[in-house]
Symmetry: C2
Subunit: 525 residues, 2 copies
Amino acid sequence: MKLQNYVRGEWIEGSGPGDALVDPVTGEELARASTQGIDVAAALDFARSKGQDALGKLTYEQRAELLGKMAEVLAANRAEYFRISQLNSGATEADASFDVDGGVYTMKYYSKVGRSLGAGKRLKEGAQVPLSKTGVFAGQHFLMPVRGAAVFINAFNFPAWGFCEKAAAALLSGVPVVVKPATSTAWLTQKMVADIVDAGILPTGAISILCGSARELLDEVREEDVISFTGSAQNAGRIRSHANVLKRSVRVNSEADSINSTLLGPDAAPGSDVFNLFVREVIREMTLKAGQKCTAIRRVLVPRSNFAAVSEAIAAKLGEVKVGNPRNKEVKMGPVVNKTQQASCFEGLKKLKEECSVVFGGSESFQPIDADPAKSAFVQPTLLACEDGASAKYVHDVEVFGPASTLVAYDDLNDAVDIARRGLGSLVASVFSSDPAFLRDLVLGIGDLHGRVMVVDPSVGKEHTGHGNVMPSCLHGGPGRAGGGEELAGLRALLFYHRRFVVQGPPSLLEALSQESVDASLLYA
Amino acid sequence: MKLQNYVRGEWIEGSGPGDALVDPVTGEELARASTQGIDVAAALDFARSKGQDALGKLTYEQRAELLGKMAEVLAANRAEYFRISQLNSGATEADASFDVDGGVYTMKYYSKVGRSLGAGKRLKEGAQVPLSKTGVFAGQHFLMPVRGAAVFINAFNFPAWGFCEKAAAALLSGVPVVVKPATSTAWLTQKMVADIVDAGILPTGAISILCGSARELLDEVREEDVISFTGSAQNAGRIRSHANVLKRSVRVNSEADSINSTLLGPDAAPGSDVFNLFVREVIREMTLKAGQKCTAIRRVLVPRSNFAAVSEAIAAKLGEVKVGNPRNKEVKMGPVVNKTQQASCFEGLKKLKEECSVVFGGSESFQPIDADPAKSAFVQPTLLACEDGASAKYVHDVEVFGPASTLVAYDDLNDAVDIARRGLGSLVASVFSSDPAFLRDLVLGIGDLHGRVMVVDPSVGKEHTGHGNVMPSCLHGGPGRAGGGEELAGLRALLFYHRRFVVQGPPSLLEALSQESVDASLLYA
């Protein structure tokens, strides 16, 4: 099977052999993807003209309805997406749900909140600014949808959610989508796009997909386009420093992996509710999707006094996790996505081991359930320990994008803040404690270098939404190492797909321009 | 005289010969600037630690008061700044006022609007987001001042205003400033900083200045810092693609020169008020600061039917402009900043002449009043004409950063929109017409590719604030060619110096964190 590309309102097969998509459990080839011979420039032009024209005629409310229909179609095909997730990503039921159900949930969320924007086609921001004493001349800020295409360069670990969360905000803004999923797991995204196209929900040009190499995509983007990238910091840098992207100041949002931390407060005694919630969350983050989440916990910050207790508790739980072929119902954790990623994990673990001791796992010859280690891409859940966080180097910098975390001992609040900040910008940190003053000081100490800080105390208990879960109503993204981007955060996500500008002129004109506008304060409500 | 650098709370002279600052009228050397031997890393560290600590203890309101005191000091030294402007920039009274008074006005504006933020130290954005059915877990978005330094890399044409407008927003946000003015006109910025330092207004570390080469400044910025750049698109690209800036995702705002257009509506008959207002504005934009404004009009879009009439009217007025030594009270237009800029203007004009005819000026051997052409850096006001805008290439791309504009004929609304968009992103466009429908369609046709659109009809008359004037209450910046940045726009300017993040946790904690916070909706009011 060769995955077809959907451009200019047509399904087109790329030429040449293309790249293989494999089953990470069996190593078998599932499909091939090629964009060779696809006219990327024409694809973008088609989106910018046909797609823009059609979407631009709709109001926010009408576009929100389209999202609702898309969510329905996706929900109806859930079983097939779970099947593809298992085949192409080695996903357990829980893994597939996290990606697929998460994507549909996000699409539904934007359909719902998008309706609140009503019948406008652009946003009006703030009141008129007086610019003349007699009142004949004033200013009015507007936010207008960008007139180009929304180009998504997505990561392999969320073929469903990554597509849905970005497409929802772009389409709601009236901006056509051109998605380039990571080749290794492009099948699921391609199937979703195909189902949406088949259902005839979106106007022609509103959606396109390229399966395979991005080819000249970056050479062809223009001032009017935006690029939303998810993936490695290295690739983010490549995109942002691309000559054409620089020359045209193409707007780029980038969400990169980060060295996220979770932290146990000094007050949380072993065996306490908070302690147990903390251990449970670390296990969940290490094993869900085999640790392949940009939000996953990489550093586990623990008070030195409880270092041994935490270490033992996590190791004991990790020992119970059944790892192997997700077709076996007992299995709780599957493989990483392919041999390349497995090798990258092994390489990262080698570096970490130079300065950390191994508490659990860490074996490259580990035997997964119902799978051949030679053909499959498993990584054993691995817990490392670092007693001297301040002098450690790799712990704060090397990301093992798999089921691995490192315990780091800290001495007091300031030390904890310093260690968390050593991540140099993260998507998320979480804190588990019953001490309100400690929680407050910690949040204020690290907030500016994080996109999200999750706090769990006994009053929250199990009702928190999870360290690694991205809620569409809350900001996702982070500074520095995390890429400096912003996604989701409710209707704030629309900001990326709009351009702010100000009109200075007679108040009558400003009012005329305001007529098809919606109040931008709704974005921040 | 060697301009000293102010870093780590001390005045330090750079070593070596440094670079010369010259009088563009006489060619005489005025001062030298050198950063050689300055420890830039230590300078930034000092700002991040001492400056941050001190500013962070103040509320927005208290910082607004500091801005007010700074404005007072600057206003008191106005005469000296005018003197330096004349010497180092060849500024007329009007030119000096535009830069100096504009800067003081902007500082005062931020002092005033900043007081409305009251006693908070950070911003709370929107209501709590429910995240659990029982209400024990919720989300709250905050905007926290960045914890680093605000690094300004500024342009030569606004040594006063460029410093003031950026410093106002940064300091109001609680972020220490490290300014690196363009070397050729660094004297004025340096004098302003010196006056502020001498007045003892700001806490130690809140302000630093480097006069001369930026040296390793870009190698030393961190995740917590922000860079605000004004200058050429080429330098903007260099900053954004710098390895350290990319690696750390350092936030960069860039405001670059653009090929701004002004447009006369088809309804404006020669001799009408709107026609005359249009001609007056073109003349003002061409000659004020000798055309050295990033917002200046580069393309003058005129209905083909009135092309000759506009051409004649502008040429006639240009003929009346006295160009020369600003020490002569009759002179209305001075030189460009130096011989390098003069050569760059001549080079640009040569390219434009390949596809344009010369309506007025354009002579390299032109004789300025009271100045020696061999030693001075004058450029004759030059009006070019391009009858075929659609096929023209340089007209939409080559910026002559001096007193030069090109008339471009257009046929109808769509043609006008297409031509304006050929600038590929501009800071500003202006439109002069009495036809509300035309004005509305034009604004909607070009708004997304502009930061600002100014509209003048007979009801506005002379009360508009000017095509090239940047009002602190309105957005300054533009997409694409204009750099993709955003400055000013009232309190929205503070967004660049804050980081958005979300805290998820028990509502009691979110409320505790909200206590020192101000409602972020004030930014958009």
